[in-house]
Amino acid sequence: MGAQEPMAITAFSLATCLGAGNAVHAEALRTGRSGLEPCEVYETPFLCYVGAVPGLEDCAPPPALTAWDNRATRLAEAALTADGYLGRVETAVARWGAARIGVVLGTSTSGVEKLEGAYRAREGDGPLPSEYSMRHHNDHHAVASYLMARLGLAGPCWTISTACSSSAKALVDAHQLIEAGLCDAVIAGGVDSLCLTSLAGFEGLQLVSRRPCRPCDLDRDGLSIGEGAALLLIERAVDGPYRLSGAGECSDGFHMSTPPEDGAGAAVAIREALAAAALLPPDIGYVKLHGTATPANDVSECRAVAGVLGMTTPVSSLKGAIGHTLGAAGAVEAAMCLLALEHGIVPGCVGLSQLDPVIACNVPAVARPAALNHVVANAFGFGGNNCALVLSR
C-alpha cells in the first residue's frame, strides 16, 4: 500500500489490562507500569501471569444486542465507550452515511471463551444449550457483526484471522477499502479475549512464562497472555493527526509456530513497509517489536530489525506491560504507538533487566521523551505470517 489517497486515523480507543482509554495507556508508557497479574480468571494447573481487562462486568452490550454478550464483545464495548469513540463514529456516520463506512476486525479466538464454558457445562456427549448461538459468539465473524449492529453501519464488513498478526492486517485492509473508493471511513481494529484455549494451547507449546513475561531479557522464558481491544477510525480526505503511511506483508513459508533464525520474513515485511511509506531507515524514530518474549522469537525479530534499520534505532516490546493480546495485538499496540507519537515517548521494554547479548538492538528498559514522526510496528503470527506497519504523525 502507498499514500496516494489522502486518509488519516482520526480517532482511536483501546482497552487492555492497564485500563480503558488513551490517558491510562499514555501514562503507563511513561512510567513503565505493567498490568500483568497472576491468573485469577481461570483455575489453571500451571502457574501463569495474564493481562486481564478490569471492569468487564460493567461492559454489557446494550439491551437490544444482548444476544452478542460474551467476553469478546464486552472488550469491544470497553473500547467503544472510552474517550468518546462512539461519538466520533456517530459524527463519521453523519458525514459519510452508514453505507460508506465499513468494519474490518482482527481476532484470533473471537468469542470462543463462551463456547468453552458451554462445552464444560455439557453432559457427556450431549448437545450445546439451545440458547447458545455460534453466529453471535464463537463464529470468527461474531465480533465484527456485533460492531456493525452496534454502530448501525452498512458498508462492507469482514474479519481477518491470521493469529497474532490479525489486527495489523485489518488496518491494511481498511486502508485498501478507502483507497479503492469502496468506503469513505472504516472502523478497523482488533479484539481478543482471555480463554482457556489460548492459555492451555501456549502452555502445550511450552511457551508460557511462570513470571510476567520479559521481552529481550537474557532470562526470558516465554509469553504472558493478555486480552484487549483497539478500534481505530480511518477516514478519507481529512486532516488527522496520524496516518498509516506504509505496510509490508509476507510469509516465512517455514514453520507454523517458529520463525526462521535469521528473521528473513520479518525483514522483508519491514523493508516493504518502509518502501511503501517512501521512508529511509534514519526516518524511523522507534520500532515497536512484536516481542513475544519467547527465546526464539525475540532473537529472530531483532536480527531482522537490526538488519534493516541498524543497531541504534530504539526498539522495545509492549508485551511486558499488557501481555500478548494475540489477534488484538496488532491494533492495540498500533494504538499505543499513536500515543507514543502524540506524547513524544520512546516506550521502555517493560520486564527487561538484562539484555540478551545475542540481541544487537538498542533496547531501552525505561521510557524516555523524544520527538517521534515515524514508528515501525511489527506483528507476526502462526503460519509464518508477517506484517509491519509504519505509523506517522
Binding site: 464444560r120 465484527a144 469482514w158 502462526f382 509464518g384
Partner: protein, 273 residues
C-alpha cells in the same frame, strides 16, 4: 475505482463435484459424484504422513489451491476465506479443555488457528508472498473475492483466492449445519497483464441490493448443503460460460455477492479478449 482482474485458472473440490470438470458436468445437468464419507481429498504437496497430521479442512483447502498454483507467480498474494475455519480441531481442543489437566497437543493448537490452511500452504509450497485469512459467515465468498480484487487492483499483484468450508463435528454441527465439504479457487491477475491463457475478465463494484438467491436447480442443490462456499457456484458458472445472450445481444452475467453489510458486490464476468 473499478476493481478488475483477469481469471486464468479455476478449481473446485467437493464430494458433489470432485473437480472443475465434474462441476461443469453437474451444472449441465449431471449427477453428484460421491457421498461425503467416500471422499478424501489428498493434496499432492503434502506427504501422506504430513497429510495425516492435518485436519480434513486443511486438506480440502490445499486440494483447491493446488490446481491454480501453476498459474500464479512466486510473489503472488493468497487470500484464504472460510467461515468456520478449523472446526474439527476446535472441537478436539474444546473437549480437552473439559478436563482439569487442560492438555492440548502442540500440533493441534498451532493448527487450530483460522489461518492454519494458509500457513500450511505457504510452508508446503515454500511460498513467501503475502497471505491473509478472512471470514464473514455466509458472506465469506463475497468478502474473499472483494479482498482479492482489491489486492490485484491496488497492489498490481497476482492473487490466488481459496474459499473453503467443511462440515463441523457434533455438537457444533447443530449450531452451524454444513452437510458437505466444498472449496473453490481462482487465480486472478491484473487486467493489464492479460495473456492467452485467461479464461475471463472479472469486474467488481459495490452496489445496492441483497446477495442473489440460488436460481437454477443445480445452484439450489449446492445451497441446500448449508455450505457458504455454495455462493460461488453462480460465479463459477459465469466464468465457465463467460458471457451469454439476451434477446440476441451478448450480455455479461452479473452476480450479486454479500460482503458483510447491507450492500452487495456486483460482479460481472466477460470472456477474455
Amino acid at each position: 475505482m473499478t476493481l478488475r482482474a483477469v481469471i486464468n485458472s479455476v478449481s473446485f473440490a467437493s464430494p458433489l463435484a470432485a473437480d472443475v470438470d465434474a462441476l461443469k458436468a453437474l451444472l449441465s445437468g449431471g449427477d453428484p459424484a460421491s457421498a461425503e464419507a467416500d471422499w478424501h481429498p489428498m493434496p499432492a504437496c503434502l506427504t501422506a504422513r504430513e497429510a495425516r497430521r492435518l485436519s480434513p479442512h486443511i486438506r480440502l483447502a490445499l486440494s483447491a489451491a493446488e490446481p491454480i498454483a501453476p498459474a500464479l507467480p512466486e510473489d503472488a498474494g493468497w487470500v484464504f476465506a472460510s467461515s468456520s475455519g478449523e472446526g474439527e480441531t476446535l472441537h478436539v481442543i474444546l473437549e480437552a479443555i473439559r478436563r482439569p489437566e487442560l492438555l492440548i497437543q502442540p500440533i493441534r493448537f498451532q493448527n487450530s488457528v483460522h489461518n492454519a490452511a494458509s500457513g500450511q500452504w505457504t510452508i508446503a509450497t515454500r511460498r513467501r508472498g503475502p497471505v491473509t485469512s478472512i471470514a464473514a459467515y455466509d458472506d465469506t465468498v463475497g468478502v474473499g473475492l472483494l479482498k482479492a480484487l482489491m489486492q490485484v487492483t491496488l497492489e498490481q499483484r497476482a492473487v490466488g483466492l481459496i474459499v473453503f468450508d467443511g462440515a463441523l463435528p457434533p455438537p457444533l454441527h447443530e449450531k452451524r449445519p454444513v452437510a458437505c465439504s466444498m472449496a473453490m479457487a481462482v487465480a486472478l491477475a491484473p487486467a493489464e497483464v492479460a495473456t492467452l491463457q485467461d479464461l475471463a475478465v472479472i469486474e467488481g463494484r459495490l452496489g445496492d441490493g441483497s446477495p442473489q438467491l440460488p436460481e437454477t436447480a443445480c445452484e439450489r442443490r449446492f445451497a441446500e448443503t448449508g455450505n457458504p462456499v455454495a455462493a460461488a457456484v453462480p460465479l463459477l458458472s459465469a466464468i465457465f460460460g463467460a458471457g451469454g445472450t439476451s434477446g440476441g445481444v451478448e450480455v455479461a452475467p452479473t452476480i450479486r455477492l454479500g460482503v458483510g453489510g447491507a450492500r452487495a458486490l456486483h460482479v460481472t464476468v466477460e470472456p477474455a479478449a
